[in-house]
């Protein structure tokens, strides 16, 4: 969060009121201009909202970066059956902690975003799928929803406009894969959170078999600002293809970890060293994961790039959800990759063979290498099993699981070899 550290170079749009306890109350939020965007939106009508969001170029902040306005335009026009908007607050990508802070400090910002989103795609019922572990933040959001119901912002005939929108807060129960949109839908329906085959896509057959759109918390939080100020205003920041500001979650070996809101395209090196203070005690940088544990690792010499979707892709990695994990020279890369791999083993839903078996196998090979019993052939096996996993499954979880393994074996092969050699030497001397 911008809180507890606020850097003067930040562009605080979504995170402006972090650290202000009054901002989470309805009165406090209204005093900060809250719900003005909703008033405007109910007058604007769906098509105009969608077009404004399209103009803004806002892209999904959950990781894939799909343009939000375009996603909304896939929703069929009112078809007589219920349509749903799902807000994905199942934040569980290692390294990511922006949605929890957005909900904790500005719950009404999210509610307003949900309502405007629902208005834009003619939805009468919004489900906010909150991560189950977020007991405290869920209660804050729950209180805010109750307040908004009392004030007539949610419910029947919102602000006298004739528009009905309900919001239901739904808690998950501990499964990373429910952050995947179709896994989330299954979970919402009371099933095992296993991702679904696509097609059909959610806009056609989604939650409870109805047309459904799923947006990330941060995406929806940006919507009220766009509606208030217009799409062009939002484009004052960022790049042509990645406009706007974004929250970046910085963790690991940096002096000032936290959430920082900067325009997309911000220089990555400057961000790590200037804004976040770089690695502590002047230690050297060893590696950076720019977008959460599911994206390929970058070496220190690769970070002179912009923090936007295109530049990250050009560097062979992904912006993901903007979760910057910094590792300094003291880091045992193999151990950390093994730990990430354990995570994927634990969280694989187990439907598809390559992911179910591949993640567990990779973990065990990595553990063996870490313990000094590895061989060079193991590295080839790791690469090949990753290739056999990635892109061969229903969802992209297997790609995510393979990314840290493949990128680390390619970029930090020496770290692996050192452990392998040490093990061989120990064995030889024994």
């Amino acid at each position: 969060m911008a809180y507890p550290f606020v850097h003067p170079d930040e562009t605080r749009v979504l995170s402006k009121h972090f650290g202000e306890p009054e901002a989470r109350t309805l009165a406090g939020w209204e005093a900060r201009g809250g719900y003005q965007a909703l008033r405007k939106a109910v007058e604007m009508g769906p098509a105009e909202i969608v077009s404004e969001v399209k103009d803004s170029g806002l892209r999904g902040r959950g990781g894939a970066g799909f343009p939000t306005g375009v996603k909304w335009s896939f929703m069929p026009q009112a078809s007589g059956k219920p349509h749903y908007l799902l807000c994905n607050a199942d934040e569980s990508e290692p390294g990511t902690f922006k949605d929890r802070e957005l909900i904790r400090w500005t719950p009404h910002q999210l509610i307003e975003g949900c309502l405007i989103g629902a208005r834009a795609i003619n939805v009468q019922h919004v489900y906010i799928y909150n991560r189950g572990e977020f007991f405290e933040t869920t209660q804050i959001l729950a209180r805010a929803i109750e307040e908004a119901y009392e004030a007539g912002y949610i419910g029947k005939d919102i602000l006298g406009s004739g528009v009905d929108i309900d919001i239901t807060l739904h808690m998950g129960a501990g499964a990373y894969i429910c952050g995947e949109e179709t896994g989330l839908m299954n979970s919402l329906e009371g099933r095992r959170g296993e991702p679904r085959l696509k097609p059909p896509f959610p806009a056609a057959v989604g939650a409870f078999g109805r047309p459904t759109t799923i947006n990330n918390v941060e995406t929806l939080c940006a919507v009220p600002h766009i509606v208030t100020h217009g799409g062009e205003w939002y484009r004052q920041w960022g790049t042509e293809k990645s406009p706007g500001t974004k929250l970046f979650c910085v963790s690991g070996h940096v002096r000032k970890p936290g959430n920082y809101e900067v325009p997309l395209g911000f220089n990555f090196r400057e961000f790590i060293y200037e804004m976040c203070g770089g690695p502590p005690e002047g230690r050297a940088l060893k590696a950076v994961i720019p977008g959460g544990s599911s994206v390929p690792i970058l070496r220190p010499e690769e970070i002179d790039i912009g923090m936007d979707y295109e530049a990250m892709a050009a560097a062979g990695t992904m912006l993901g959800c903007g979760s910057v994990i910094v590792m300094d020279e003291t880091t045992d890369i193999v151990k950390q990759v093994r730990r990430m791999s354990d995570f994927y083993t634990h969280e694989s839903c187990g439907q598809c063979t390559p992911c179910r078996e591949g993640t567990a196998w990779a973990s065990r090979i990595l553990k063996r290498i870490e313990d000094g019993w590895g061989s060079e052939e193991d590295l080839d096996t790791l690469l090949e099993l990753s290739e056999n996993m990635a892109g061969k499954t229903i969802c992209t979880f297997s790609d995510a699981a393979a990314a840290p393994i493949v990128s680390s074996v390619q970029k930090f092969r020496d770290d692996y070899l050192a452990l392998i050699r040490r093990g061989e030497n120990l064995a030889a001397s024994a």
Partner: protein, 230 residues
């Protein structure tokens, strides 16, 4: 370790920050939540879930809890949608999910017990066995791990004197590793029942355990859940 100030998320140490722990947790704002779940839109949320662990053998889904389930059911077009909240509720009442509780949920929602078991076992937050009064979940995923999550885990094990997943003899503690708690900027993140403790260092562990021990009620009697009237 980052040379950062402590996040007041860790109770008691608010350092130089203006905000208090209560303000961070939002306890004053949230206030006392009703057992019947309050407004139907948020009745599926569970303020007392872990706090009332093992508290009750009263019938499931009766009285205020029954009202809460009715409210939850009103929010889904298919009763099956209420399965996760209903399991949470059963978990809240019983402290864990026993076969009997799953069976009751299945019957209430018109599902097969085996199906309910399949769903319940998919999610890590449904504890299928009774646990200690405090479930201590230490994040050892990458961001916390880089900053010493493993040591914090070891410290909790050392000071509670148990192995991961066990219940301590006094029935107070269960310590397990947990996957990313989405508090990566404040390592090490520890979730104890419903509360987050952030920026936990190994040396903070005894103080945390002391504080919890003081808060813990007489063994056997249910505790007043945090921020609630019980």
């Amino acid at each position: 370790m980052p040379d950062s100030k402590k996040n007041p998320g860790f109770a008691g140490i608010t350092g130089d920050f203006k905000v208090t722990e209560a303000e961070i947790r939002g306890t004053e704002y949230v206030g006392v939540r009703a057992v019947d779940g309050g407004h139907a839109s948020v009745s599926g949320t569970l303020p007392f879930q872990v706090a009332s662990r093992g508290a009750s053998d009263q019938p499931l889904f009766e009285g205020a809890h029954g009202e809460r389930l009715e409210k939850i059911l009103s929010r889904y077009e298919d009763p099956q949608g209420a399965l996760l909240p209903a399991l949470h509720l059963a978990h809240e009442i019983r402290g864990h999910l026993s076969p009997e509780a799953m069976d009751a949920v299945a019957e209430r929602l018109g599902l097969s017990p085996a199906y309910v078991r399949g769903v319940a076992s998919f999610y890590t937050m449904y504890n299928l066995q009774p646990l200690g009064r405090y479930l201590i979940q230490v994040c050892t995923n990458i961001s916390c791990n880089l900053c010493g999550g493993d040591e914090v885990m070891r410290a909790f094990l050392k000071h509670t004197g148990i192995e991961p997943g066990e219940v301590s003899e006094d029935g107070l503690w269960t310590v397990i590793e947990v996957e990313c708690l989405a508090a990566c900027g404040f390592p090490t993140a520890v979730q104890i029942n419903e509360r987050y403790f952030e920026n936990v260092r190994p040396e903070d562990v005894p103080a945390i355990l002391d504080r919890l021990r003081k808060e813990a009620p007489e063994m056997g009697a249910p505790a007043a859940p945090t921020g609630s009237e019980s």
